[in-house]
């Protein structure tokens, strides 16, 4: 957007034209208490120079660590070009740059994003993104309910191998719907995944609406997706895949699971070019089959032709959306994450299919190597005996929080303690090594863990 300077006379002329007394009058609606905020943390009268000094001192308390935590957010390499391009003024705007089809370039980018997500998940159509992975899954469940509206009561089968944060978000967003019942499916203790025998007890229940299939699941374990998808198909449940987009570089896309493929695929977009930033902002992606498109939530960009036959892009199927359907819209969480989607689109276009495959493979191999090295230490073992993608749950013969602290002192973020989420998994740590981790990083972690375990023995 161009910079347009104006003089004091211009300002007066504009104010006069719209009948406002002064600039402040334009902000009358905002209560005074909201116009500025108290800087309680800073001493009164501190100037900018002093504030910066204080902030720098606080920032030094942060330790840069080597990250071996995944659990929903992943430390992948982001090419420098991604955010350099995404931060250009044409893309980096405050709000809804595509409003009223003003920016064909932005619409084209969103269209390309949708195409990439549809191809990555093996389904027909994807939207222009949702708030994040967990809310995208909740939207998927609500959409599944709409697809089964013949039922008055809906049971939704949710595996306990799903990320606990996603489970909590589902509970929150589904709570107002008294006709939806969440049924939690236990995972197999040996393999950490859902098996047909975990589903068997529900076979003859009525009102089954949807099955959520995470891939990989919270433990990094690969679910038997073909088998689960076919089971759901056979029992007429809507199938919802919750997938990690990077793993789609290697794994079968949800659209090709089992005999019929899933109905809905969704997930967290962070691994596609979004830095880990204390939990956000991230973005959710969402795709479905053509037959279900009118029940899909979120913005959708279509490609068309103008009256001169030239290619143009436009928002489409808007009758699903809240500005037309009001309370009955397919979603009233209207957020999409335009800027992050811009970055992800650039990221995917720079990596290409081969690049994404190499990221996936590198992460898988590094995690295997890490787990092999760690489990050579006495008492350290893999919790689940099953194929894993780029995360693994290991059990440690010491209190996990102590080990985490000791690793942290050695500059290592050693993984996520799972016990607070799933108490039955005592002394376990969920570890991840992306393509960014080197052999030296892995060796450093192994030695630091060995040392930490020795120290714990002597305490």
């Amino acid at each position: 957007m161009p910079f347009i300077p104006h003089t004091a006379e211009d300002v007066q002329a504009m104010l006069k034209r719209i009948g406002a007394k002064d600039i402040d009058a334009l902000f009358d609606e905002i209560p005074n208490t909201l116009k500025s905020f108290a800087m309680d943390g800073a001493p009164k009268g501190t100037n900018e120079m002093g504030l910066i000094k204080q902030a720098e001192m606080l920032a030094q308390k942060n330790h840069a660590t080597t990250c071996f935590i995944g659990a929903g957010a992943y430390d992948h390499h982001i090419p420098a070009a991604v955010w350099d391009i995404a931060s250009r003024g044409e893309f980096l705007t405050a709000y809804t740059p595509y409003q009223a089809e003003a920016s064909q370039g932005t619409l084209q980018l969103l269209f390309e994003f949708q195409t990439m997500i549809a191809e990555l998940t093996g389904l027909d159509v994807a939207n222009a993104s949702l708030y994040d992975g967990a809310t995208a899954l909740a939207e998927g469940v609500l959409m599944a309910i709409r697809l089964k509206r013949k039922l008055k009561h809906h049971k939704v089968l949710i595996p306990k191998s799903l990320h606990p944060h996603y489970f909590a978000t589902l509970k929150t967003l589904l709570a107002p719907h008294s006709n939806i019942e969440i049924v939690s499916i236990p995972f197999d203790e040996q393999t950490g995944k859902i098996t047909l025998s975990s589903l068997a007890p529900y076979e003859n229940e009525e009102d089954l609406s949807a099955l959520v299939i995470p891939q990989p699941n919270f433990f990094g374990v690969l679910e038997s997706v073909d088998e689960l998808s076919d089971w759901a198909h056979q029992h007429e449940l809507t199938k919802i895949a919750c997938v990690n987009p990077v793993t789609m570089g290697l794994l079968t896309p949800p659209g090709a699971w089992g005999k019929s493929g899933v109905d809905i695929a969704c997930g967290e977009g962070q691994p596609l070019g979004v830095p880990m930033a204390y939990g956000g902002p991230y973005f959710g992606f969402f795709s479905t089959k053509q037959a279900h498109v009118r029940q899909m939530p979120g913005r959708l960009v279509g490609k068309t032709q103008d009256i001169d036959g030239k290619t143009g892009y436009t928002l489409t199927l808007q009758a699903r959306e809240q500005h037309i359907r009001r309370a009955k819209a397919t979603s009233n969480i209207c957020t999409n994450q335009g800027l992050l989607v811009t970055a992800a689109t650039i990221h995917m276009s720079l990596l290409g299919a081969e690049g994404l495959r190499r990221v996936a493979l590198g992460s898988h191999q590094n995690t295997n190597q890490l787990v092999q090295a760690l489990t050579r230490l006495p008492g350290v073992e893999k919790v689940f005996d099953a194929p894993q993608f780029h995360e693994s749950l290991i059990r440690i013969p010491a209190p996990v929080h102590k080990i985490q602290d000791k690793l942290h002192q050695q500059g290592i973020s050693g993984g996520l303690a799972v016990e607070p989420y799933l108490p039955e998994l005592k002394n376990t740590l969920l570890v991840c090594a992306t393509e960014k981790r080197t052999e030296a990083d892995i060796l450093h972690y192994t030695q630091a863990l060995e040392q930490a375990l020795l120290e714990c023995e002597h305490e």
């Binding site: 013949k150 009758a319 359907r325």
Partner: protein, 122 residues
């Protein structure tokens, strides 16, 4: 033929009863592009949502005028929604309902009452 305040018509002489949206409703909505119909076998109470009618400029729900079971839907309007624009109260019918209690008909509007209602719209 009887009418509702939400602009459905129901042919009370036919068995099962035939239901559609009124010509007045299709005029208000404009060119129709998509119809979502209920499933056959679905039971509905008077006032329940039956489906959605979407035009180029709006989307509206339509409702069950009376209680009953859906026993047929008009697949032709699903394939070609403009049929409703051309003949809303004939070939553009939406579904057939097995009526549970014919006495509910008395709560519906007759043609004169409905015409009076829509003349207020104009």
């Amino acid at each position: 033929m009887k009418f509702t305040e939400t602009h459905e018509w129901i042919n009370t002489d036919d068995k099962p009863a035939v239901i559609g949206i009124t010509n007045h409703a299709q005029t208000l909505l404009g060119d129709l592009v998509f119809i979502e119909l209920p499933e056959e076998g679905q039971t509905v109470k008077a006032g329940d949502e039956l489906g959605v009618i979407e035009s180029v400029k709006a989307a509206a729900d339509f409702y069950a005028p009376i209680t009953g079971t859906v026993i047929a839907v008009n697949h032709q309007v699903k394939d070609d929604p403009s049929l409703i624009n051309r003949d809303a109260e004939g070939d553009g019918w939406l579904l057939k309902l097995q009526v549970e209690d014919p006495s509910e008909f008395t709560s519906l509007l007759d043609e004169m009452q409905y015409n009076a209602l829509i003349s207020e719209d104009k």
